[in-house]
């Protein structure tokens, strides 16, 4: 009897937890990521954001500290006052250079031709997803800045992704290389279109529905098609053609494409306040 009691309780707990988890999965799947669970996620992001910011801020000086230690080691012959002064000046220079670089990045994004008259919200990338199965970043703008779920996100070179979840102060941007991401692209000037799909980190995107004998060359820039009910406005650069293969008898060409934006070095982005017509 004692043996039964020892083994039965954990099994009961496990059963309860598994059923609870399955219920949550079902609810969230049916709600399509929104609904009550979406609201809970948004609240959690807002509540956790200050702690995350503080942690990031805490780690940055640690890196600067180690840089400073190395730097001081090279100046053994100088006295303490000069070392302090030199460190301060160099610190200011580095800060100024960093500020100049960030300013240039922002200026580069002020006049994006492909954006046209669409109003934009500038945002800074503050975090990247730690999941090994999801490619997304968090930006420091949310509903309080006019950001809404579904809005396209671009950088100076072109398309970055789209907002999939938004709270008051933060928004999560699904990157175009995520396996769940797809976007319609215009292949050539004659109007042929295809659908570009993300294939995960370090993998080129694939383009489906490319008619046979479509003339595409390595390095061709593909733009969003902007067809009716598309999630993105027309004419945003998405990527460059990587490879084109035509299998005998195939109903479509095998085309792969690399994103035109370097998604590993995102710092500032523009959220387009645009929704499908």
């Amino acid at each position: 009897m004692a043996v039964y009691r020892r083994t039965a309780r954990p099994r009961f707990v496990l059963l309860l937890l598994v059923l609870s988890a399955l219920t949550l999965v079902t609810i969230d799947t049916r709600a399509g990521g929104s609904g009550v669970i979406g609201q809970i996620r948004a609240k959690a992001h807002d509540a956790f954001a200050p702690v995350q910011d503080a942690t990031h801020s805490a780690l940055r000086p640690v890196g600067n500290f180690f840089t400073g230690v190395v730097h001081y080691g090279e100046l053994k012959s100088e006295n303490a006052r000069l070392r302090d002064e030199l460190a301060k000046v160099r610190g200011q220079q580095l800060q100024a250079a960093d500020a100049q670089r960030e300013l240039q990045l922002l200026l580069d994004q002020q006049h994006l031709d492909f954006v046209g008259n669409i109003p934009t919200v500038a945002a800074q990338v503050v975090d990247t997803s730690s999941s090994n199965f999801e490619l997304s970043v968090q930006v420091n703008r949310g509903t309080s800045s006019g950001v809404a779920a579904g809005m396209p996100v671009v950088a100076a070179a072109g398309l970055v992704g789209r907002v999939v979840e938004v709270s008051a102060k933060r928004a999560t941007v699904l990157l175009l290389t995520d396996p769940t991401f797809s976007v319609g692209v215009r292949l050539t000037a004659n109007g042929d279109t295809g659908v570009a799909n993300g294939r995960g980190r370090d993998n080129p995107m694939t383009i489906d529905l490319v008619p046979p004998n479509t003339r595409l060359n390595h390095g061709d820039v593909l733009l969003t098609s902007g067809l009716q009910l598309e999630r993105f406005p027309k004419g945003i650069p998405v990527g460059r053609v990587d490879a084109v293969k035509q299998q005998p008898g195939a109903l479509q060409e095998d085309v792969t494409m690399n994103p035109i934006v370097d998604l590993s070095r995102l710092e500032f982005v523009q959220v387009l306040q645009w929704s499908p017509q």
Binding site: R6, L14, L17, L24, T29
Partner: protein, 174 residues
């Protein structure tokens, strides 16, 4: 009650590390999974009951910050891993210096692959997009990182879980 608070504190710290530092510690594009490691260590230290509960909570917390997979998927996977580790600890695994790292190594790899398997079963086919080699690489790197961190983390979790060990666990300890 104190043990639960301590475990809650560890869950919070693990979540903080996972959502801030983990993405900067990528090896070949793969980031560590501190929540899975905590789950495994809880199963080792306090048995299947606590392992399943800690896994469930750890999964729920990290699910708050995932968007491409449904809420509850990590909770489902991690509670199964925590439970399985706890059961194996009671029935098969014996005390030794390699217990924590070896268990973390195997359970982490199984946990990553179980996440994909369960995800596919609930319709998340995009989880298989890395392909067999990519999945093996993700599972392998997560497993190795967790194995390296397993000794200090398991000691921390053992300390936090002191007082949660039931009669069966105590009997096993003898």
């Amino acid at each position: 009650m104190t043990a639960r608070l301590r475990l809650g504190g560890l869950l919070f710290v693990a979540l903080l590390l996972q959502t801030t530092v983990a993405s900067d510690l990528r090896i070949r594009g793969v980031s560590p999974d501190f929540m899975l490691l905590l789950t495994i260590c809880a199963g080792l230290a306090a048995g299947p009951d606590t392992g399943a509960v800690v896994g469930f909570l750890a999964g729920l917390l990290i699910d708050l910050f995932l968007h491409a997979t449904p809420f509850g998927l990590s909770a489902l996977t991690y509670c199964l891993v925590g439970y399985a580790v706890g059961v194996l600890r009671r029935s098969v695994l014996r005390e030794g210096n390699l217990l924590a790292p070896a268990t973390a190594l195997l359970a982490s790899a199984v946990g990553v692959l179980l996440f994909v398997l369960v995800g596919v079963m609930v319709g998340q086919h995009q989880l298989t997009s890395p392909g067999p080699r990519g999945l093996a690489q993700i599972a392998g790197i997560v497993a190795v990182i967790n194995a390296i961190l397993a000794v200090p983390v398991s000691r921390l979790v053992s300390w936090a879980a002191t007082g949660l060990q039931g009669p069966a666990q105590s009997a096993l300890a003898k």
